[in-house]
Symmetry: C2
Subunit: 338 residues, 2 copies
């Protein structure tokens, strides 16, 4: 992330962190000390805070919280925004149990550090706490959007289960999964920000679409980084998706576009776990030769362009400084290296 | 359950089942078919529907839904009530993963039938769906009560983790756990029923207390049935709690009250997993000799008496037929054999 963008969001990120600290301290006073410790461990170390940040920025873009304090509209927007970090955290806790993910944000994941039981339960706690914060701060319409994004998330996980070992997965199936698993929650963050600021349906939908585009592009870049990233920067093992036989966009495009011989080679490797493990470098060459990486990036760029158009349809009429920051965040999604 | 009580609740139970069928069909139209199947498997086979039923009855006791339809107050109370069955279901799905529970309601539990991943995810789905139903139908005050009961539930699970292998557990610790793990959600069902009917804080609290007493007594009877139940009726293996070294009320009371020699014998058995497994019959004798079963039952009876007093403080002024049913349900908690 560029220095200018970092500076522009620093104060909001700090306030989101503080709101989370405060809320966790509040919970800690009422809950079991081990649970409190797990929540701090799982939530407070690292994390980009993208979702709550988008919510806060969309809120202000739509005229919420004029001036410095949030007192004017009666909404503590940073406190409300942490609901998205809580839900995201709950998802990570449970996903790491499900996928046997051992490392998260450079440290042992919650179930490794505290056990599976604790990870499942702490996720459930965060779920309920997130819903409570959203309902209290955003009312029933916000709760509605939030819960529907949550159920969609689960639905996306189930679709992904079905898609496992389908090495001829279509682009449509891929996009359906990332829409439900990643994009909808980011869209919901943007939409609820607008809603709480009192924006009308048209602006809410435009910002939701901006979030959906951002979220989808974010996931595509994630998939690219899995093949092309710098392990030191991402903290993840390169080629992990291929090793697991996970059909992400570069690979899907390569299987569709490659010369027949390359295509057969890719499919043969995919069908054999041992070959997958040893074949990451070769797979990368085959995907590159079929233009899978460039085409995937191209699609992400197209989405960001669509998202920016939707953002500007709101932002130009509102003419607030958040427009520039939200534009820069869209650019960051494409340029990020971790 | 006696025939008269069964008849009195039959129509509400049927309407709760129907509301659940309808809502699941609605979700099924939007979700992955496997998820829809799991939800039906986990929710629609068996289950006493005690929580939603209590909510509906407390609602009507407080003047909600006069006459047959619920149209007068604008609340579809049966639809709202299924949120409690959903949350309860989510808890069972996750608990069975955590405790490696293989059988539930006489059939393979969800994680056995569909895998751990599916059980965790389906529980998350139900969580979100439950919050949505409660928020939509009951507003933010209802959501508040519901979410706090949910976080308490997790908190109770963590307390229980800490208490594991503490064979000198105090009665207070035991009651703290069952309050959070079982009673609060039942109290919340009663309270939200009153709230949605428009009852004041005094009546809401009285019915919440009735629910708390009922829930605590329910759990104590559960603990007694674990030692004294008929396997054919309960569908559970007798002595399971003792085998697992789980400190429930009869055993806690026995450890406190037994003659020194018996006490040492019990503690020695508890400390050794092999001895626990082979020693259920002996443990039962030792607990009986220390009057653990009778004393535990006595406490459950005291709670039911307290609960009935709180119920009547509302019900006698309201003089509606639900009073008799709620009294009978309290009686059923004590007399139930499964």
């Amino acid at each position: 992330m560029g220095r200018a963008l970092k500076a522009a969001i620093a104060s909001d990120v700090a306030r989101i962190e503080q709101a989370m600290e405060d809320d966790l301290a509040l919970s800690a006073a009422e809950t079991d000390p081990l649970l409190a410790e797990i929540l701090r461990y799982g939530l407070l170390q690292g994390g980009k805070r993208i979702r709550p940040l988008l919510m806060v920025l969309c809120y202000r873009l739509c005229g919420g919280g004029k001036g410095e304090g949030e007192g004017e509209t009666g909404v503590d927007i940073h406190r409300l925004a942490i609901a998205f970090e809580y839900l995201h955290g709950a998802t990570l806790f449970h996903d790491d149990v499900i996928d046997r993910g051992l490392v998260r944000r450079g440290r042992p994941s919650v179930h490794v550090a505290y056990g599976e039981t604790a990870a499942i339960l702490a996720g459930d706690f965060l779920h309920a706490r997130a819903m409570l914060l959203i309902g209290r701060g955003g009312g029933i319409p916000a709760l509605d959007i939030f819960c529907q994004a949550t159920t969609a998330l689960v639905d996306g996980e189930f679709m992904q289960l079905h898609n496992a070992r389908n090495y001829n997965l279509s682009e449509e199936d891929y996009f359906r999964v990332i829409m439900d698993k990643t994009a909808r929650l980011i869209g919901a963050a943007c939409q609820i920000g607008a809603l709480v600021a009192g924006a009308g349906a048209g602006e809410q939908e435009a910002l939701r679409d901006y979030g959906l585009c951002l979220g989808s592009a974010f996931q595509i870049i994630d998939d690219l980084l899995d093949y092309q990233g710098d392990e030191a920067a991402t903290g993840k093992v390169v080629g992990n998706d291929f090793c697991e036989g996970k059909m992400t966009l570069p690979l899907i495009l390569a299987v569709r576009r490659a010369e027949e011989q390359d295509r057969q080679r890719l499919l043969a490797m995919l069908a054999n776990p041992e070959e997958r493990k040893d074949g990451v470098a070769q797979a990368r060459d085959l995907i590159a030769r079929a233009d899978g990486f460039a085409q995937a990036r191209h699609k992400a760029e197209g989405m960001i362009a669509d998202g920016l158009a939707r953002l500007r349809s709101v932002g130009q009429a509102r003419s607030r400084p958040e427009l520039g920051i939200l534009e820069a965040l869209a650019g960051y999604v494409l340029s990020r290296e971790k």
